[in-house]
């Protein structure tokens, strides 16, 4: 009987078929391509779950599909599929959220009478195809190709309403900023191929395995620029990290994500919350065996992540639009995941990735429902009192907010707590950088609690502040169904890895840890290979875990601290904003608020870099090109023209001149012949 793996390509190809159908036949279909997309993604979800079940039975898959460059004695470029526990989990997440977004779009786009829908559903289908193919990728070049394709779809979808001013500009900004990071990713990919001769992620011939062997002295690989192997692997890791920072919107390439909110809200939910920005973190997790070999790269990842978490959370404190708060929240939460990866918490990072995908998509879809209700007015200060009029949306949104803030027992509490715990124990084991990241993450917990509940209270509580809020537009089942599904998941998804409960009670509850450990040893992607007692983290990264209060004690203390800080932030928001007529308390921050509202002037800084640094450099290069390089070419031709103009004057038409020239020539020939022939 054919196994799930034979159908694995179909997981990605079904949405591609939906793309084609929507593109060419969308205008003939009743829902303009939504049903084609929904059925395709339902099919992908079924196949992903079947694959998940098969992997749960212990099977994995790593095969080439199509070789497009078969090298002789050199590298081979191919497209292939890698299915191991991590990718199977990610497939289910992506296809589930994509399916719910397609259903939600029926309510957000079709029911609101938007135009251009075949294009919308076609682009969503293309995005789903490229994201699923990215997850399935078994080598770095294929991952890069689909990474770029995902960026293209993001550009198309952000700029969906291109006839207005904001969206095309935001789309260009997103594309350019991520492209800037992807340039470094490409250089890193080429470097990895040049060093190892392969880009495979898993298996005995994969580049993490070869790098590990090279550092252990068993094989040798070519390094460049005279760097040693350890230093060169760090360089490669940091180069690939450039693409990750761009795609996952970490500092300093985070500026595109808030502007990407110009796109339709289902797009924000799918792409800019749950899947595309997850691609960067997923890539690091996929290559974790390579990153663990370089403590410097891990330190950089942790520091960038921790800083971004705090930095973005501070900016979310003062925003007035609903989707802007959620955008900065996304940046901040991905900072947590990067902090976890840098801090050696592989399972924690994947756990947070899963729960974040669920609750952030939920929050965005909830925001979409609110936006439909408020006739596309996003300003929270125009809302208020919506909880009585939109109960399903309210409770789903509340569930998502509790998860985001990290309140027990919602999903976000368990995952965020584990992120912070892993960073703390590895930091106490002798890594001050990780402790700095931990401190920043902890402070961001306060901010997260505050801005999340400020958002909830301003939107749903109090008295309605405008007429639209008093009489909101209703939403139908196609909006409420995804909200309900995700709301329930946000509440219960924490059960997949209840590490603190396990440590306290001794009952085995860390299912995610076991799941990720299921990869066979030949793949090299299992958790024990990464972070186990003899794993790469211990041998190469030098991380050791130190539990100052004993394992149980540290876990409980850490959980208590983070829960306490989250409740502190939430409580402060409750006091300030859960009143019938809240005021803008953040004005009391004064000039600090101006700084935060202007996003620390990062956008202006990047424009300055482009206009006042890069443009003059490129003008200088252009001048050099035109005057020196073109000048040499032009000079060659003008020398030839000038010389010929002068030489032409010998032909005067006067016979005696010709006779003179003849005689002179004869003399020269006689002298030459005489010297050679020995006449003299």
């Amino acid at each position: 009987m054919t196994g799930a793996f034979d159908f694995a390509p179909a997981i990605a190809l079904l949405p591609l078929a939906a793309f084609v159908v929507a593109l060419f036949g969308g205008k003939f279909l009743p829902k303009r391509g939504a049903l084609a997309g929904s059925t395709a993604l339902a099919g992908s979800l079924v196949l992903s779950i079947w694959t998940l079940v098969t992997v749960a039975g212990g099977e994995t898959y790593n095969a080439d599909l199509y070789t497009f460059v078969a090298g002789q004695d050199t590298l081979t470029l191919h497209l292939g599929i890698l299915i191991d526990p991590l990718s199977a989990l990610m497939l289910v997440i992506v296809s589930l959220i994509a399916l719910l977004v397609f259903i939600f779009s029926l309510g957000y786009m079709n029911d609101e009478g938007e135009t251009g829908l075949p294009r919308y559903y076609a682009e969503l289908g293309l995005f789903s195809f490229s994201m699923l193919a990215f997850v399935l990728a078994d080598n770095l070049l294929m991952a890069f190709m689909f990474f770029e394709l995902v960026g293209l779809c993001s550009y198309l979808l952000i700029g969906f309403w291109f006839r207005e001013e904001g969206p095309p500009s935001a789309a260009k900004k997103a594309f350019l900023v991520t492209r800037f990071g992807d340039y470094f990713f490409l250089v890193g990919t080429v470097g990895i191929f040049a060093t190892f001769g392969t880009g495979m992620f898993a298996g005995p011939e994969s580049f993490p395995h070869m790098a590990e062997q090279a550092l252990a002295g068993e094989t040798s690989v070519t390094t460049f620029f005279g760097l040693g192997e350890q230093a060169w692997f760090t360089v490669l890791g940091l180069l690939v990290l450039g693409g990750v920072i761009g795609k996952s919107a970490q500092f300093p390439l985070h500026t595109w994500l808030p502007d990407a909110m110009e796109g339709p809200t289902p797009v924000s939910a799918l792409i800019h919350a749950a899947t595309m920005v997850a691609a960067g973190v997923y890539l690091v997790a996929r290559m974790y065996g390579f990153y663990l070999l370089s403590p410097t790269a891990l330190g950089v990842i942790a520091l960038v992540g921790g800083f971004t978490a705090l930095f973005a959370a501070s900016m979310a404190l003062v925003k007035q639009e609903l989707k802007q708060v959620l955008a900065y929240s996304t940046i901040s939460q991905y900072g947590y995941m990067m902090l976890a990866l840098g801090g050696g918490g592989y399972v924690a990072a994947v756990f947070h990735l899963t729960t974040h995908a669920i609750f952030k998509a939920l929050l965005f879809l909830g925001a979409g429902a609110v936006i439909i209700a408020m006739h596309h007015n996003e300003n929270m200060w125009d809302m208020g009192g919506l909880k009585d009029k939109m109960p399903v949306t309210y409770y789903a949104f509340l569930s998502g907010s509790l998860a985001l803030a990290g309140i027990f027992p919602f999903a976000g509490f368990w995952s965020k707590d584990e992120v912070l715990y892993e960073t703390l124990i590895h930091g106490l084991g002798g890594n001050p950088l990780l402790l700095a990241g931990y401190a920043m993450g902890l402070l961001a917990v306060v901010f997260t609690g505050f801005y999340t509940f400020r958002m909830v209270f301003l939107t749903f509580h109090g008295e309605p502040r405008t007429e639209t809020a008093e009489d909101p537009h209703g939403v139908r089942w196609n909006v409420k169904l995804p909200l309900a599904v995700l709301g329930i998941l946000a509440a219960v998804a924490g059960v997949i890895n209840l590490a603190p409960v396990e440590k306290v009670t001794g009952v085995h509850l860390t299912f995610l840890h076991d799941w990720l450990d299921k990869a066979p040893d030949s793949f090299g992607t299992a958790v024990h290979h990464y972070t186990g007692d003899h794993g790469l983290m211990h041998e190469f990264a030098g991380y050791t875990a130190t539990n100052p209060l004993g394992e149980t004690g540290t876990v409980l203390a850490g959980a208590a601290v983070s829960l306490g800080l989250a409740l502190l932030g939430a409580g402060l928001a409750y006091r300030l904003y859960a009143v019938p007529d809240p005021e803008e308390h953040t004005d009391r921050l004064g000039s600090l608020k101006t700084l935060l509202m202007n996003n620390y002037y990062q956008d202006e800084y990047q424009v300055w870099l482009a206009r006042d640094v890069t443009l003059p450099l490129s003008r200088a290069a252009d001048t050099f090109d035109q005057s020196v390089i073109d000048g040499v070419v032009n000079a060659t031709s003008s020398v030839s023209l000038f010389a010929s103009e002068r030489v032409r004057r010998i032909q005067s038409g006067i016979v005696t001149h010709y006779a003179t020239l003849l005689t002179l020539g004869l003399v020269v020939i006689l002298v030459v012949l005489g010297l050679y022939g020995g006449w003299f």
Partner: protein
């Protein structure tokens, strides 16, 4: 004793004078006279070698050259007549229509 070298140097001198005349004279008749000089220098050379080697071939050749020089002058004068007809002047630096 006058050896063949003296005749050869004489013929070289006469030839050089003829070459100078071809290059420097602007009158077409003087040009032709210089050409005659060059031919006669060659004749001196031929006869000198005929005497040196005792072979009459040189003298036969010199006789032929003289006759050919005469024929050439006849044709040359005809060309000078045509030149005068077309350009109005027998200065050889005037006709420049064969240049670029």
């Amino acid at each position: 004793m006058v050896g063949v070298v003296h005749y050869l140097v004489l013929s070289a001198a006469v030839f050089a004078i003829g070459v100078f005349g071809v290059m420097a004279r602007s009158n077409a008749l003087m040009f032709l006279m210089s050409v005659e000089l060059m031919l006669n220098a060659a004749n001196i050379n031929l006869v000198a070698f005929s005497l040196h080697y005792g072979n009459l071939t040189g003298q036969v050749f010199a006789l032929l050259v003289m006759a050919l020089a005469a024929a050439e002058v006849a044709i040359g004068l005809g060309i000078i007549l045509v030149l005068d007809r077309n350009f109005g002047d027998i200065d050889v630096t005037v006709p420049t229509t064969m240049r670029r």
